[in-house]
Symmetry: C2
Subunit: 176 residues, 2 copies
């Protein structure tokens, strides 16, 4: 998305149970216009799954594991970036999204079940997507769609080896 | 959501690997204004997880497992309902959502990895959320948010035993 930089920081990931959900978080981030994902746990399996999709489907989404979350947040802020933490306890998305849009460089923290309390204080914005329990995947999707105002539905992914041709029924793809 | 009825039909669920993702599908549906979910596989574990959330957090979301998908679709259509199938091969969401909004009673088919080809023909709308691979959870979230035009962020869930009070930082809840 020109002029905006959004990167995900996934914390609390447990390789033994969160691989699929974290992969969905990364793919959602990529499909909806984020530039990359930092994973605050070592997990080469997740990194490889996301890189495989990015290689085949285009774009230059990055995924790095074993990132230290405290220094990641500190460095992001030192570079003038803004930190958003998605949590069901935060302010409701429609009430804050216009404020957030005034910032161009956003780190979105996406936690698994338990998040260190410190994160709430480090974040510039704690944002809830409704006040109901659902999924960090749906929360991230709605945050990105509202942040990019729906423009991300038209994103291009240069260098793809495969592309879908939208169809009324059936499956049409083009190999490049 | 007054005047609209949206129910999910989850197909292709495999209890041995999809429990968490299907639970996220159901909770996303509930949080974002759908009335219930039919699960086309027997899986009491998923049903119980979703019912536990609904009991505690309010509203009257239903979840039924072991539903036969062909008769579910046929009955929905016989009652004048519209069938939407979320698939990365379909028409792009922003291009069709206004048409879909003209209908009040929507069955949203959410598949796991493989979906029977027949579904494409049975659906009134095959809808893609971008043309990139990501997650059925994010696809459903974006479909519901666009269908309900963001009004679902203000939904009430009567009969809740717990409620979140949106906060700038920290966790505030109210027990009822």
């Amino acid at each position: 998305m020109p002029g905006n930089e959004v990167v995900i920081l996934r914390i609390g990931h447990r390789p033994e149970r969160d691989q699929r959900v974290t992969t969905h978080v990364g793919l959602t981030a990529r499909a909806l216009g984020a530039q990359g994902m930092f994973l605050a746990t070592p997990d080469k399996g997740v990194v490889q799954s996301i890189r495989d999709v990015a290689d085949r489907w285009g774009g230059d989404f990055f995924c790095l594991d074993n990132v230290k979350w405290r220094s990641c947040i500190r460095d992001w802020k030192a570079q003038g970036g803004t930190v958003v933490h998605l949590t069901m306890y935060g302010l409701n998305l429609p009430d804050v999204i216009d404020d957030v849009k005034a910032h161009g460089k956003i780190l979105v923290i996406v936690g698994a079940e338990k998040v260190p309390g410190e994160i709430y204080g480090l974040a510039d914005y704690n944002i809830a997507v409704t006040a109901q329990p659902h999924s960090e995947i749906s929360s991230l999707a709605l945050f990105l769609d509202h942040f990019f105002s729906g423009q991300e539905f038209r994103n291009e992914f240069p260098g793809a080896h495969i592309r879908i041709i939208h169809s009324r029924a059936g499956k049409r793809t083009e190999e490049m």
